[in-house]
Symmetry: C2
Subunit: 299 residues, 2 copies
């Protein structure tokens, strides 16, 4: 986090505390045979991760003066989806990873069956959180959030992108296909986080163009940075296994563009992302800081 602005560092710290607190409240371990299920969810959900998606919800919502507690709950719902996807992606049948966020993956710590169910439970929990009146008093806002998140998580978004990613090991994708894959696999949920902030701010779809452009470019820059991190990063700092893409013969932004052009492309995307915010004043500075930060992070 060395290169994050002071304001961003403070925001990252604050959102980390807030999201941990939300998960702690949502997931009390019951004294019954489901105890390990809850422990598995807590293991995955609490005390780790950059919390980029909740931060995007909250930083966007803040532009429009949205109540911070509402935004934190919506950020938690989006993070539920992100965490469930990590649990399932790490499974032996998928990426078969042993380490995540510096800890054993859920199936290593609790077994495969509990890991599948813990992912499924966090998936359902996201929509239970969004449906609760405590999240937002207006049912129209809640159902719009719910629809946006379901779309971003499903076959046209994150899970569809993950399927393309599995196919990428067998095929040889070109740059437009890799771009589409990544726009779905990581981009859709990042875009949904920003969109959720705008929905909370009651900005109608036609008023979200700038934010959508920001989120799209941010998502791609984030993924290119992730590819670079996979190739060049430090496993200990990243808290997960690296050097995976090359070992599987998968085309990535890095393999298709080379390191220099990939880095240049990511910088260009960050600049573009920031430019999409031109209609906003200093109230969008945190979003600008986030865009710059995605290139500098080490995990």
């Amino acid at each position: 986090m060395g290169e994050a602005s002071l304001a961003l560092q403070a925001a990252l710290r604050q959102v980390a505390v807030e999201i941990d607190r939300q998960f702690d409240l949502l997931l009390p371990v019951p004294q019954d045979p489901r105890a390990d299920l809850y422990r598995a969810m807590r293991h995955a959900a609490i005390g780790g991760g950059k919390r980029l998606r909740p931060l995007l919800v909250m930083a966007t919502a803040q532009i429009f003066g949205v109540d911070r507690a509402c935004a934190a709950r919506v950020g938690t719902a989006v993070e539920c989806i992100h965490v469930y996807s990590l649990i399932h992606d790490d499974l032996p049948a998928m990426d078969d990873d042993d380490i995540r966020r510096g800890k054993p993956t859920v199936h290593r710590a609790f077994g495969e069956a509990a890991a599948i169910l813990a992912g499924d439970c966090l998936h359902a929990l996201a929509f239970e959180v969004l449906a609760a009146e405590a999240t937002h008093p207006d049912p129209f806002v809640r159902i719009e959030l719910s629809g946006a998140l379901a779309h971003a998580a499903g076959p046209a978004g994150m899970a569809g992108g993950q399927m393309m990613d599995l196919e990428a090991e067998k095929a040889s994708f070109d740059l437009p296909t890799v771009t589409r894959l990544q726009a779905m696999k990581t981009g859709a949920l990042i875009a949904c986080a920003v969109e959720s902030g705008a929905i909370l701010g009651r900005i109608p779809p036609e008023g979200r163009t700038g934010l959508r452009g920001y989120a799209r470019d941010l998502g791609l820059a984030f993924q290119i940075a992730d590819d670079i991190l996979d190739a060049e990063g430090d496993e200990e700092a990243a808290g997960k296994k690296l050097r995976k893409d090359a070992g599987r013969g998968k085309e990535t932004f890095l393999s298709l563009l080379g390191l220099d052009r990939a880095r240049e492309q990511a910088r260009l995307l960050v600049r573009q992302a920031v430019e999409h915010l031109h209609a906003f004043g200093s109230e969008a500075d945190l979003l600008r800081d986030i865009a710059r930060y995605v290139m500098e992070r080490d995990r």
Copy 2:
């Protein structure tokens, strides 16, 4: 289906056609690397199953004169959750089943990774369907449906019950614990189907007591009948592997009560379920027929 009333037989046929049609419309196979993901979802979702849960949504909604197309969409959402749970339950790390609804299970036909993702996608799709304006014009109805389904699917419902079921292989549960397990594992989604019909009918929670009692007793009767089917049924008619519980040393209603008392208990529950509908006239006859049918089915 030999013992189903003529009205129920017609309703079962009609709902089967309608739900297949909904899934066919929702899941067009794309011409891109996600094709197998959609094929896997279609394999699991189309052309099989009793469609008991959509039927319960529609039969309950019909009591209150709800538009049939709305009820069919909500029934499809509930069935999305049921089908996803079957895909995940069949995985090698869970029940490790090869046959479901007379066909190879999804992981046998498409591989484990695609099966995990197909389940995840149907899970998300359920909430996308509920959020769509086409499902119901009133956002309050849609978000109430969404919250009820998320709760029924999550750790306090179906997935929590599935976790208890896994633990049942290690522990020796007593009758109250098995009852609670089954009330969560299969009962929660059955109850949600009936509740969804009442939500569509704009019946406030305090007006749903009879229907809730019906659904609770129906769910338990259904599960006892399922246990009996597992022990006594014909694998070909059932379209899935039977005799699984005994092989795993799991306590069930059958192992705890014995065949005669289990059958008697199920019959009592069916009678009770029907009695819970005393406030309704002939408009609830289909729900009554469904309750009687759960004891007679062979799959």
